[in-house]
Each structure stands twice: as structure tokens, then as C-alpha cells.
Homo-oligomer: 249 residues x 2
Amino acid sequence: MFRFTALAFEYWTRHAEGVSKPAAPGIRARVRAELTEAIKTTARTHLASEGAPSLSLRAVARELEMASSAIYRYFPSREALLTALIIDAYNTVGACVEEADAGRERDDLEGRWIAIGSAVREWARANPHEYALIYGSPVPGYAAPDDTIVPATRATLVMLQLLADAIAINGAPDDTTEIPEPLRSELAAVESFADGSVPPAVAAIGLAAWAEMLGMISLELFGHLENVVYDRDAFYNHTMRATGARLLR
Amino acid sequence: MFRFTALAFEYWTRHAEGVSKPAAPGIRARVRAELTEAIKTTARTHLASEGAPSLSLRAVARELEMASSAIYRYFPSREALLTALIIDAYNTVGACVEEADAGRERDDLEGRWIAIGSAVREWARANPHEYALIYGSPVPGYAAPDDTIVPATRATLVMLQLLADAIAINGAPDDTTEIPEPLRSELAAVESFADGSVPPAVAAIGLAAWAEMLGMISLELFGHLENVVYDRDAFYNHTMRATGARLLR
DNA sequence: GTCGAAACGAGAGCACTGCTCACGTTTCAT
DNA sequence: ATGAAACGTGAGCAGTGCTCTCGTTTCGAC
């Protein structure tokens, strides 16, 4: 491996300078981290060009000039590599949403909602296969491991915090819709994830709004607006505005 | 092939009875139709148990006790088989929606909306992989051939007709929301698919409601409501009622 | 510094996949 | 009856994910 050879040379160069041990972490740990990242990066580009079902560990290994079996030193299976890409995708979109939200005044509720919705859509359009990986059909045999839970909720929690902030600013809406148990209790528990109050009815509307937003993006990205709506930007913005007005009044 | 042999025997039996030609269509056409159906049926069960990415033509052929290459006599590629399954899925859900809608009085607008939404969700829950095939991540390399367009719109057209009927019964809503061109014209063209009038603002709300409905189902089926909402029926019904109230007022 | 264990890279190999091709058989239209 | 098209099969190809073995390298304990 060219890369490994270069790092080994660095190790011996340093050793020749009289350093009795390499700086922590060891060269091995460093190389491992870098190769793990290189595998993921290469896999991500293949995902972008070929799609998830066509992601081939052998093709990734070939591009990195490794034997295909070497990949298994870093990821125990193809599924594990996909899981790592899923975690990365959740974290990336979550970071985009957090940043978009943070770019607005805390009391600009509508602005934040629009910014959140735009961030998700823009990221999705720029990374359709990653979007499909996390919000499209589940990869077979995939069960969400514990380490995807926190990344998976990052984006949603931003919206939830927006709801709590809206309640704090506007007060709770007069929503008298009856919500039956046990759903009411389940929705009541949602506010524990936010800093502030999110009544059950608001949690329900928020989740439905999230579903609508993702539904809109999926319709667009998965080809269901073909021959119907061409002015996609306008349609999405129109819908998000209407939803924001309901959600944040 | 057991089945083919049995049909050939039937042909010779009839021939021995002095019939100079088999009844139209020929035995070949009949066998072809039956085998095509058998391949699709077997593929559908494999889809249900293994998921789309794991659908194997060889496994289908093995179960039908055919050589794997025989499948290519009926479907020119794996992609063509998947396309056939996609068409079937669209037609099945479309028929479910049409039937559910037809089971309600024409002027029971809310009842029809709830029936439509329930039909889609029930079918999706009973056939999650088929749902994923048509409303989840697109199969790689798949471009919707012309023959999927009509089946793909069957379900949506039922909802659209509901909107037109609501307009006919209640009159057009007072919705003054500005819709920019060219989106307004695009949405205005949607009513050409319904028997009646669907103003642009209503078409937009209808499409967004459809997105929300599919978004809700996808969140549920694709695992995003885990540890959040357990009372799925109640959540879905609550949301569909609220959306119906907005949509059909 | 030495030593043993763990990590690593490579290559061979296995079972499986989608698909092509050639050949013999069957059906169909003339 | 005849020739063409459709059909079923088996062999084969190139590709896949993954396992295993072996030699090499790094690392931590002594």
C-alpha cells in the first residue's frame, strides 16, 4: 500500500532521529483511522454514482489499490460499511439543519422553519443517494444499531426545539382535538427531548409536518412529480410556508 | 417442466380427439402467460421475504424448477422483472384505493378521504416491500417506462377526484395565497385529470396532503417511529383526520 | 532489546449472482 | 410437410461478498 508505505517510512525516519516511541496514538491507529475514512469516502462516491444496491466492496478496494479482503479488516461486512455511511449521512444532514437553524434569530420562528426545510431539501438534492439511504427504503437485513439513534434524531430535534420555542413565545395553541390514549401519553413524552414544553397535540402536528416535508422531498427525488410539477422550488417553498403557518401560529 | 408437460399432454389428448387445431390462443401463448405470471408471483414472494435488492432470478428459477436462463425468455433482464412487479404494485394499490373510495357515499367527503388513506396504509403494511418498491428509493438504473405511468397515477387520481367533488359540493375555498408562475399554471393543469374543477391552490394542498400521507407511511414502515410512537393506528388516523378537515373544508 | 500477540495485506478459493450462447426440442403458420 | 420462431437446458463468463491461510508489521509487556 502506497499510503501505508509512506507512513511506515515516516515512522522509521522518526525512529532514526532517536525517538524511542512514536507519538501516541501509534502509527497503526493513525493509519487505521485514515484508511477507514478513505474506504468510507470512496464508498460514498460509488454510492453517489451507482446507488446503494450496486455498492461493491471489491470496487472500493480496487480503487484504493487494496486486496478486496483487506476491506474486512476495517468493516466486518458490507452491511457494516453501509451502516457507517448511514451514520455519516444522518450526521451530515443533522449538522446542515442545525447550522441553518442557528443562522436565524431565535424568535424568527417562520424563518427558522423555512431554513430547516430548505437545508434538508438542499442536502437531499445534492446527495440523493444518501438521502435514499436514510429516508428511503431500508437496506435489507439492516436493523438500526444503537449508534445510529443519536445521529438519526439530530435533524428532528432541531424541529422539535423550534416547536418548544414557538410555545414559549406564543403560548400553547387552542387545540382541543381529542387525542386518545395511549397515543396522548406517547406524544407527551416527546417534549422530554426538547428544552421547553411541547404539548401532545403540537407534537403530533410537528411529526406530521416532518412527515410532509420528507414526503415532499421523496416525491421529488424519487420521480413522482415528473410531468406534474416542474417548478419544484416554488412548490416546496409554498408548501413549507403553509405548513409553517399552521405549525407555528 | 411439469406444468408444460401437463399442458402438452392436454394438447395431444385433444388432438387425438380429432381436433385439427388447438383452441386460440395457441398452447404456447397460454403457457407463456401462465409462466410469466408464475415467475412474477414467485418473484413477489421472494421480494416479500428478502427485499428488492436481494431478489435473485436464479432463486426464482430454482423454485420453479427451471434453468435460470429460461427466465430470460420471459423477462429480458432482472430490471424488466422488477418493472413488471412495480406495475403490478401500482395497479394493486390503485385498485385498493378505488375500491375503498367507491365504498363510500359520493358526498361523504371525509369518509372517502379516510377510506383512501386507510387503504393505502393497510396495503403498505401488508406489502411493505412492494410499497418500498414504488414509493421508496428507486431501483438503480430504473427509469419509469411509459407503461408504468397510468398504473402509477391510479391511486393519486382517486384523491384528485375527491378534491374535485369537494369543490363541486362545497364550492371553491377562500384561499388567497399567492402562487407564483409558472407553478400556478402547472397546478392549474392538474384539474385536467379530474372530472370537475380543481383550482391551483387546492391542487397544491392536495399534493402536499398526499406527500404527508406517504411520508407518514414511510416514516412508519421504514423504522423512523421506533421508540417514539407505538400507537401507530391512532397517530395515522389523527393526522389523516386533521388533514382531511383542512383539505375538504 | 526481546518476544508473543494482535493487526494487517495479499492471494487463493468458494458459493453465489446476472447474463450470454449454442444446441436440441416443440409449436405454429404457411 | 417444412421452416421459422419460441422454448428449455447446460456450459460458461465475469462479477459479487466473504473466508481462510500465510507472511509481515506493529505494539505492549517484560
